[in-house]
């Protein structure tokens, strides 16, 4: 069930009023768990069993870890933790990476001439939607219980709601157990400002998704489907289109998820903070998919050693984290490349930042503005080029797009004529507006506040106007595939 579908609208129309009419917190949570299962089963009911298995396994694992930790038996708690993590990781690896490993194994077998075995091995595993997100939630709960940040027995109902809460079930944001579980303890309330912020978030989310991202989508799809048929200008437009599309699409999803959660009284963390303002890649990762980058930091980078040890070890930790982060997005060498180059640039930035030059310190006033502008240009160029392997179907297509842009390959093919003129205004105006104007509005703290009724009326009319200019036809969210 997509947020931008009529069925989700009907689903919400049914669940939301029922939720607020129910008298007890228990019944409300029960409704949300049931509703979340329906939401998930709408896509493919067969994988509901997998979701339930993950819920049960982490409930049991976290219980055992907590019991042993309370007894002071840290070693046994650690064993239970690893068993629990093992189960979740096996689920994730099997469903998400089986096809990838199998494909590479078959290619390796075929390259050494073992064709008969290769042909007898092939079978495909269907990727359950949202698996990367709900297994990460499960891992979070188990680890936090071991660390002691979750220090009480969590009921099965609460675990189920934490893992399966429908707004964040299929594409995040990845919510910490320490943030979500305390919200389950008491009956939620909905104040006027909650409703206002929820509607604002939903309105903006839909604007990002169904107006901007979906309008750019056809251009991006056409260019990346057959890049060899397009000239450098069209490839540049296609790559720029994806640079904008992925931001609007994923941020749109996140904002709708945050807004819908807030309608039920639950607060989810922000997932984006104007990432295309970033003046370094380090800064970019503090602004892009924040819930994932902080998760990787806290549950992978720090346990690997983090900033402890020699610089070489720190760089190794950083590189490993980014490679795994890349692979988390999808089972493909393109994602490994994407994560690897991000990791390499982050390592370079870490090395540079570690040795500030004396001259830079002395000319601070001048150099800061110059460095920021230079840093912004370089950072955005790196991000722009790294979105190409993220979107391209394979490595040859990636090379084709990059080479076509850099050489400004001439064009005029029938595919270009079919696609028509490049919508430069669509590619430039919304992203510039968002990155500079909206950001300025966000940081403007003394912004005049409107009368509540007027503020609401503007919000309602603005959201309705979004519907008027929406791109029709259901396009799934890009991050659903991860």
């Amino acid at each position: 069930m997509l947020f931008n579908s009529g069925s989700f609208f009907c689903f919400l129309l049914l669940v939301l009023p029922t939720y607020w009419l129910l008298p007890s917190n228990f019944l409300r949570k029960l409704l949300l768990v049931g509703g979340s299962f329906v939401f998930y089963a709408w896509w493919d009911w067969r994988f509901l069993g997998l979701l339930v298995f993950v819920i049960f396994s982490v409930f049991l694992g976290a219980r055992l870890v907590l019991q042993e930790r309370r007894k002071g038996n840290r070693r046994r708690a650690l064993i239970y933790l690893w068993c629990c993590l093992g189960v979740e990781l096996i689920v994730l690896v099997f469903f998400k990476y089986f096809n990838f490993f199998e494909g590479n194994l078959l290619a390796a077998l075929q390259s050494v001439g073992v064709h008969a075995l290769a042909s007898s091995l092939t079978f495909r595993i269907l990727l359950p939607i949202g698996i990367s997100f709900y297994t990460f939630h499960a891992i979070t709960l188990a680890v936090d219980t071991f660390r002691g940040t979750v220090d009480s027995e969590v009921s099965l109902l609460d675990v189920a709601l934490y893992i399966a809460f429908f707004p964040q079930l299929v594409a995040g944001p990845i919510v910490r157990a320490t943030v979500f579980l305390p919200q389950l303890e008491s009956k939620r309330t909905l104040a006027g400002d909650d409703l206002f912020l929820a509607l604002q978030s939903i309105g903006l989310g839909f604007l990002y998704k169904v107006v901007f991202a979906d309008a750019i989508g056809p251009l991006v799809d056409a260019v990346f489907q057959a890049p060899a048929q397009f000239s450098g200008v069209y490839l540049l437009a296609g790559a720029l289109g994806f640079y904008c599309q992925i931001y609007f699409d994923f941020n749109g999803y996140s904002l709708i998820a945050i807004g819908v959660s807030r309608l039920f009284g639950y607060r989810l963390p922000d997932n984006f903070n104007f990432p295309y303002c970033a003046t370094s890649l380090t800064n970019f990762w503090h602004r892009w998919h924040i819930s994932l980058s902080t998760w990787l930091r806290d549950y992978l980078y720090i346990p690997l050693g983090g900033n402890r040890g020699t610089q070489l070890k720190q760089l190794r930790n950083l590189m490993s984290t980014m490679l795994l982060g890349g692979l988390w997005h999808g089972a493909s060498w393109n994602f490994v490349l994407w994560g690897g180059v991000h990791g390499a640039v982050l390592c370079i930035e870490k090395l540079i930042q570690g040795r500030p030059s004396q001259a830079k310190k002395e000319n601070r006033e001048f150099s800061i503005s110059f460095a920021l502008a230079f840093g912004w240009v370089v950072t955005q160029a790196i991000i722009f080029f790294l979105w190409i392997p993220f979107r391209a179907s394979n490595f040859p297509d990636t090379l084709n797009v990059v080479a076509g842009i850099l050489s400004m390959r001439p064009g005029g093919s029938p595919a270009e004529h079919q696609l028509g003129a490049i919508p430069w205004l669509l590619l430039a105006l919304p992203i510039v507006c968002d990155t500079f104007v909206v950001r300025s509005l966000r940081v403007w703290r003394e912004k005049p506040a409107l009368n509540p009724e007027l503020a609401f009326a503007i919000l309602i009319l603005g959201t309705l106007a979004v519907a008027l200019i929406a791109k029709t036809g259901l396009r799934p969210f890009i991050y659903f595939q991860f």
Binding site: C10, G192, L195, F196, L204, V211, L425, N451, I460, V466
Partner: protein, 373 residues
């Protein structure tokens, strides 16, 4: 152009909105209800939906129909036949041929055809509405001076379900064009007469699709980009004959001769169950023409399918008050009893369509000469 410009303005507007700290309380009811009502009234009054769905056969069909009434075409015309139907008519009824045969018999007549493959009754209702809405005052006057006959296709599949094939074209411009707020009450009134209580649960997919299309149109989702991309509609042909045969078509025996069929009680009970909504549909179809009050003439095609043939004969017995052409009493069945004239069990190929059209024209001539029409 409109999407990036208006979208950016909305982006700033939505992001800039900030409520005062007094918003701890819930906003008063009018803060959300009033803008909603004003908005819905505004868009539904000022933004006609029919204009924004170019990927429907409706505008092209209406265009060719209205063009037929253009110029001096109406001068001296005594009969105007408006033929509506689905793919069986689209493939099997040549309106121009019928018109020229009527003219050859000295009957000044015009045949206007509004048929399309896959068009269910709800869609055909929309075609008629759009056709009438597109007529100029002089054309309406021309229709008043002539005798208007609404020729209605009878076909079992479509007569069992007013929104037949909806899911095949669900959420496309084609379905959305006829499932706007103006038509949905009519469609639901047909369904209310058709569905038993259990059917409202059984048919939840169709009902959800209808509700979804209704909401989509009520809020005019995507209206502006669609209108911006709109190109002038091209003429759509209402008669497109088949020139090949379906590979799966291999009939056993003869074409079902309706008069020889003994009607099964179980079969007819299904037909009877559909009468209430069909009666309402017939009234609604005639209502489209307002004061013109056209006469109705029903027509059915012979078939290689027994249920269809049963339905046709049963239906001919129901329509004793109206004209009903199914070839009975004519050599039609004999002439069409050749598989090579057919595309499949229901749809004719071009030579078959010509035979059917000629027999239909003969039938009309006979009725006109006998003053039955």
């Amino acid at each position: 152009m409109i999407v990036p410009l208006l979208g950016s303005v909305l982006l700033i507007l939505l992001a800039a909105a900030k409520a005062s700290p007094r918003l701890r309380r819930m906003p008063r009811w009018y803060a959300w209800l009033l803008p909603l009502v004003v908005w819905l009234a505004g868009v539904n009054l000022w933004m006609p939906l029919s204009k924004s769905y170019s990927d429907s056969p409706a505008p092209g069909l209406v265009l060719q129909a209205v063009r037929k009434l253009d110029g001096q075409a109406l001068t001296g015309i005594q009969y105007i036949f408006i033929v509506e139907g689905s793919s069986v008519t689209w493939n099997g009824f040549d309106g121009n041929r019928v018109q020229s045969l009527l003219n050859q018999h000295g009957i000044p007549a015009l045949v206007i055809q509004l048929s399309a493959a896959g068009a269910n009754h709800a869609e055909r209702f929309e075609y008629l509405k759009e056709f009438v809405a597109a007529l100029r005052p002089d054309q309406i006057e021309g229709l008043r001076t002539a005798k208007v006959v609404l020729c209605r296709e009878v076909e079992l599949g479509y007569d069992k379900n007013p929104v037949n094939n909806l899911l095949r074209n669900g959420s496309t411009g084609r379905s959305l064009r006829y499932l706007g707020p103006a038509n949905l009450p009519v469609v639901f009134s047909w369904l209310a007469l058709k569905y038993r209580p259990i059917d409202w649960i059984r048919e939840h997919t169709v009902l959800a699709e209808l509700a979804g299309c209704g909401l989509f149109n009520l809020f005019h989702i995507g209206y502006l980009p669609r209108v911006e991309d709109l190109t002038a509609p091209a003429k759509v042909e209402p008669f497109v004959p088949n020139t090949t045969q379906s590979p799966g078509f291999a009939p056993n025996g003869d074409l079902y001769p309706p008069k020889d069929i003994a009607l099964d009680k179980k079969e007819t009970s299904v037909f009877v169950a559909n009468l209430p909504w069909q009666k309402k549909r017939d009234d609604d179809f005639r209502g489209v023409f307002g004061g013109l009050a056209p006469e109705q003439c029903f027509f059915a095609f012979p078939s290689w399918s027994r249920p269809n043939a049963c339905y046709n004969i049963w239906k001919s017995r129901q329509h004793t008050k109206f004209l009903f052409f199914d070839g009975e009493g004519t050599p039609l069945e004999e002439k069409l009893n050749i598989p090579s004239l057919w595309y499949d069990v229901l749809h004719l190929q071009l030579p078959g369509a010509e035979i059917y059209s000629e027999e239909f024209a003969e039938y009309l001539v006979e009725k006109i000469q006998a003053k039955d029409l």
